[in-house]
């Protein structure tokens, strides 16, 4: 084929010229909203708060340009949060009487919606993996569905009857698989996964809006209490769900692959199971004032940054599971469901790396921020507190993972196993330390 130089353009538009009118509209909206807030509320904000607002707005603006669906998401969250805040109208008692608050947009209600939507989304994604293809695939799906369904119901019964207390909170996770496997064969296409991704978007919107409304609620309880709701274990689990789902949705769009959802949403569902237990059994959702140690500007940046790290590591581990299943499927039965339904090794490996990379980068920032906070609150930027030490262990673990990938070119099965192991280490650093080791971070205890 020959080239006709006339048709070839060497022009390559710059970043800003590649933006669409909608992108500019988005930018205008963010800028106007920021200016509006500064003008109306600026007088009651100190320099840190104004600075935080401007930096947040700039990051949000960029994020909307970098990842277009974020624009719609941000609008939805804003609308829901404002609805919640205005429904309160300055009186906390409205949460019990106002219909919208009670059932939709109060912090508690929105988070419960998030939980429900995440469970549904998980089942939908799983259903897509069991989509109909042949009679054999239907039988297989029904078989798996029946087995997991029976196991889940047995677990529910054992937990409820008091024979194995606590099991009733775990067995819904097995039932999610059952629902997915039983409903999956209805469709031949990946329709269910598309539904799953819509549900995941909605869940993420409810979760974040719930946190934002809760932010307002902390002030309604008592103006001296007010705090950003990333301060106790209940709130950070909501944050974990939101961040992990959003990160996953980003990778889903980027890789144009819907089949990772079932795996990633499984770990999110595990967090939901914990959250439900924590809410219904322990009433941990009740707003309490912050202890003095947590009343710091650093909290607001340290915690969310950390959760980008945790989210990335969790996604990587679940893709590690998918990778191992795919490899096993290819070896055992190259034409089987595992080998053909799961994403390709290349995609899994690539996203696993990317999730760990972003997780590692943000985890590093979070640890440095934590050190700076510790220097201000505890008198030393590093005091070998169990939480700090475990953060170091997590960091060293992923540093070693990245080293082996970069310099030795390690790929595949060992790295997948390592990513899974990494999640156990991370989970211990996240909740295990608070449960078993105590130390200065013990306010996150169960």
């Amino acid at each position: 084929m020959s080239v006709t130089p006339d048709t070839v353009s060497t022009e390559y538009p710059g970043y800003f010229r590649r933006l669409s009118p909608i992108d500019w509209l988005w930018a205008a909206g963010v800028v106007l909203a920021t200016i509006f807030i500064l003008v109306v509320y600026g007088s009651s904000m100190d320099i840190y708060q104004s600075g935080t607002l401007v930096v947040t707005a700039a990051s949000g603006l960029w994020l909307g340009w970098f990842w277009k669906p974020f624009q719609g998401y941000a609008l939805a969250v804003t609308a829901m949060s404002l609805l919640g805040i205005f429904s309160y109208g300055g009186d906390l008692a409205n949460a019990q009487t106002h219909f919208l608050l009670k059932y939709l947009v109060s912090g508690e209600a929105a988070v419960m919606w998030m939980c429900a939507l995440l469970y549904m989304s998980t089942s939908a994604y799983l259903a897509s993996l069991f989509r109909r293809e042949s009679g054999r695939s239907v039988l297989l799906a029904l078989g798996i569905g029946g087995a997991t369904g029976a196991a889940g119901l047995l677990g529910l019964w054992l937990g409820r009857s008091g024979l194995m207390p606590g099991l009733e909170w775990v067995s819904p996770l097995v039932l999610l698989v059952a629902v997915g496997a039983l409903l999956g064969p209805i469709a031949r296409t990946d329709f269910a996964a598309r539904v799953g991704s819509v549900l995941a978007w909605c869940a993420a919107a409810f979760g974040l809006a719930g946190l934002l409304v809760r932010w307002r609620e902390t002030y309604l309880h008592d103006p001296t209490w007010g705090y950003v709701p990333v301060s106790n274990l209940w709130e950070v689990f909501v944050l974990f769900c939101v961040v992990t789902v959003l990160m996953y949705l980003y990778y889903q769009r980027r890789t144009r692959n819907l089949d990772m959802g079932g795996f990633v949403m499984m770990v999110v569902s595990a967090a939901v199971a914990f959250l439900l237990w924590y809410t219904l059994e322990r009433e941990a959702h009740v707003v309490q004032p912050l202890v003095p140690a947590l009343q710091s500007w650093w909290l607001k940046v340290h915690v969310p940054t950390n959760f980008v790290g945790y989210g990335g590591f969790a996604i990587a581990a679940m893709l590690g599971v998918a990778y191992l299943m795919r490899v096993r499927g290819e070896r055992r039965r190259p034409d089987g469901l595992l080998a053909r339904r799961l994403p390709s090794r290349e995609v899994l490996d690539d996203v696993m790396y990317k999730a760990i990379a972003i997780g590692f980068a943000f985890f590093t920032i979070a640890t440095v921020l934590g050190a700076m906070w510790a220097a201000e609150a505890w008198g030393a930027y590093w005091s070998w507190d169990p939480k700090e030490t475990w953060a170091l262990i997590v960091w060293l673990n992923y540093a070693a993972w990245l080293h082996l990938r970069f310099t030795k070119g390690w790929r595949g099965v060992p790295m997948a196993w390592w990513a899974i192991l990494g999640l156990f280490i991370t989970t211990f650093a996240f909740v295990g330390v608070n449960m078993f080791l105590g130390g200065l971070h013990s306010y996150g205890s169960l």
């Binding site: 353009s9 004032p289 009343q295 980068a361 030393a380 169990p386 060293l396 080791l437």
Partner: protein, 676 residues
């Protein structure tokens, strides 16, 4: 931690080169990373920096000795742990030293001498034979395409063929340099702020660790560190109204005294509370007295808001009682209970008392708190209430064994009746058992104490018993004096027994004095006699108060009082201490640090973050256009590579190929073509 060290040519290598090769090797780096992680775990599982006696109790002498020798109680300052860190720093430094030249070369070398064959083997390559186009415009276009995308471009004419080399994102290579240098910088900064100078001073014998609990003035010079010490982390507790110019640095099972070049005076310490009672803020008003200051510097610090002065940073770390003064009334729990003795006491003070049997008791006042939040569940609603001020003390007998007490000042309401609570326990780890002393209508303990005093006074008892039995005898004909005296003696004995040992002792006496078959009947009779006597004493108490008609509340009071007296043997104290008033003096626990390495560590951290983002997100991409004018047209190879994120580079390379050649590279067969 080396990325791709250029190995020297094979052959004999010098010892130095072998050593450098080992120190900079990836294997060692990974080993050290893992070793550091595992060693760090040890320190989180085994609780660090506890008193040695605690360890001894927990692990027994054998393991204690072993753990102590291995430094497991202070892992992070143990020699072997520091050795791992030092090796990590050396390994990283060697790696940086060996790899940096190659890295800089790589950033700037365009590799124009690249061979056609190697380009054809690239994963991303397009090969063409272009019939029509001349080399010059093709190269010009390629250069324009690359430049428009931010590539740097070089060209070379090798006579028979021409090469264009383009690259972008070479800054990504700096990521390697930044991250690894940052690790070294952070470790060095940390080492500066670490305990190295103190450890050296201790090692050379210049510093001795003090393990005694003695006043600062008695601590010898060998255990003091001068203000010249560049970095330390110590703490000091200063009671309100007092000052200090030292901080204590804990080392293993002892401490050394860090002298400060100024005085810190604590004016006041406050716990601010929310309306619900939970703590909102801990604040200390302090004043720095320094000869360098024209006038003392007053400042308020709180958690998260320290004060930095002359490179020293003062943090609000803790608080405890600073020797509060208590105005107490001591009620003997027995004879003379109605005549309390005033006892002015002080927290951390010790007072001596003589028990009834003549033995000496030591009373040690240990703590006072003006607020006691307690979580109470009432009708399914959990809420915290403030129990008011309380103080704690220990009563030790001559053998040193102690019972631990905690008394509240304010009454506690239960079922509509008011009590004064005093908790007791035999072990500080146990929960308190409470003595409920009923309060009289005036809200005091007077009625209870008067009752107890009368019950414990033989003269009163004799009078009560006589009067009661006489009244009873008068109601029945034919009761002779002998029977009356017999009943009176029984009643007296029972009252005395009850006063000392409660109902348990009374029942025990029944069992001793009567055959087993009659226990129930005898107990019934005895208790009736006893209660008649107790009622009579109580009526006397009420009469003394001027009460003629006994109300239901007065009845309840008697029940409660008897219950309390019944519990006195378990209470175990010969007296009750009632808090009348107090002067709350608190001590503020300050942490004082000097960390000159902090700036270095922060700089290293910023470098680390910058490096990680460069390393992970700026890929070093290279492309080459190789052309040779041939007989049938121009032969062309377009090839490219990226050191990171190959999947993203796919798209970029296709786009470049499209722009230069007017078509795109066919997708490789293994490319994932999923939906969405």
């Amino acid at each position: 931690m080396s990325s791709t060290p250029s190995d020297p040519p094979p052959g004999r290598r010098s010892t130095f080169a072998v050593l450098m090769g080992f120190l900079g090797s990836m294997g060692l780096a990974i080993t050290l990373l893992v070793a550091l992680a595992v060693a760090s775990i040890v320190g989180t599982v085994l609780q660090q920096n506890q008193p040695y006696t605690t360890y001894l109790l927990d692990y027994g002498p054998f393991w204690h000795e072993l753990f102590r020798t291995l430094g497991l109680y202070h892992v992070y300052s143990a020699a072997w742990y520091l050795l791992i860190l030092v090796f990590l720093v050396i390994s990283t430094s060697v790696c940086v030293y060996r790899s940096t030249p190659a890295m800089i070369r790589d950033m700037n070398q365009f590799r124009l001498g690249v061979k056609e064959k190697s380009l054809r083997s690239f994963q991303h390559n397009v090969q063409r034979n272009l019939h029509t186009e001349a080399p010059a415009p093709l190269m010009a276009r390629a250069e324009a395409v690359f430049r428009a995308r931010g590539y740097r471009v070089r060209q070379a004419d090798h006579g028979d063929h021409q090469v264009l080399s383009a690259m972008r994102g070479s800054a990504g290579r700096l990521g390697y340099f930044f991250t690894h240098v940052a690790i070294v910088v952070i470790c060095v900064g940390g080492l500066i702020d670490g305990r190295l100078p103190l450890m050296l001073a201790e090692f050379t014998g210049q510093l001795e660790i003090e393990t005694r609990q003695v006043p600062v003035s008695e601590i010898p010079e060998q255990s003091r560190v001068s203000p010249a010490n560049p970095s330390f982390r110590g703490s000091v507790e200063i009671p309100e109204g007092q000052r200090a110019d030292v901080a204590f640095i804990t080392i293993r099972n002892g401490y050394v005294v860090q002298e400060l070049p100024f005085y810190i005076e604590v004016k006041a310490f406050r716990v601010e509370r929310h309306a619900t009672g939970q703590e909102r803020a801990f604040e200390t008003d302090l004043v720095i007295h320094d000869d360098m200051l024209d006038e003392p510097l007053a400042h308020t610090i709180s958690v998260n808001h320290p004060l930095t002065y002359r490179g020293y940073t003062l943090y609000q770390a803790s608080f405890r009682d600073g020797g509060s003064r208590l105005g107490l009334s001591m009620y003997p729990l027995g004879r003379g209970a109605d005549r309390p003795l005033p006892l002015p006491a002080r927290i951390f003070g010790t007072y001596s008392q003589t028990a009834e049997d003549g033995s000496r008791l030591r009373v040690e006042f240990t703590d006072f708190s003006d607020t006691n939040l307690t979580l109470i569940e009432e009708h399914g609603v959990r809420q915290s209430i403030d129990m008011g001020p309380s103080f704690e003390y220990v009563i030790r007998d001559s053998s040193g064994a102690g019972r631990f007490y905690r008394n509240f000042q304010q009454p506690f309401e239960r079922d509509g009746r008011m009590y004064l609570l005093s908790g007791v326990r035999e072990d500080p780890a146990d929960p308190f058992s409470f003595l409920y002393i009923p309060l009289d209508p005036q809200g005091g303990v007077d009625r209870f104490m008067t009752f107890l005093a009368k019950l414990s006074d033989p003269d009163v008892l004799r009078a009560v018993v006589d009067e009661t039995t006489r009244t009873a005898a008068g109601q029945f004909e034919g009761v002779d004096e002998q029977l009356r005296t017999q009943v009176a003696d029984t009643m007296l004995g029972l009252l005395e027994t009850f006063a000392v040992g409660g109902y348990d002792e009374v029942i025990a006496q029944v069992q001793v004095q009567s055959p087993e078959g009659q226990w129930d009947r005898m107990a019934d009779i005895f208790l009736r006699v006893l209660n008649a006597g107790l009622d009579a004493i109580y009526l006397r108490v009420l009469a003394q108060e001027g009460i003629e008609v006994v109300s239901e509340a007065d009845d309840h009071f008697l029940d409660d009082a008897l219950r309390a007296i019944n519990a006195l043997p378990f209470y175990g104290s010969p007296f009750f201490l009632h808090l009348n008033d107090f002067d709350h003096i608190q001590a503020s626990g300050l942490m004082i640090t000097k960390a000159p390495g902090q700036g270095i560590v922060y700089a290293g951290s910023v470098m680390l973050i910058l490096g990680i983002f460069l390393l992970l997100y700026v890929s070093h991409r290279r492309c080459w256009v190789w052309i040779r004018p041939g007989a049938t047209g121009t032969d062309l190879v377009l090839a490219g590579t990226s050191n990171r994120n190959m999947s993203d580079f796919n798209q970029e390379f296709d786009d470049i190929a499209q722009a230069i050649l007017g078509d795109s590279r066919p997708l490789p067969a293994d490319q994932d073509t999923s939906r969405v």
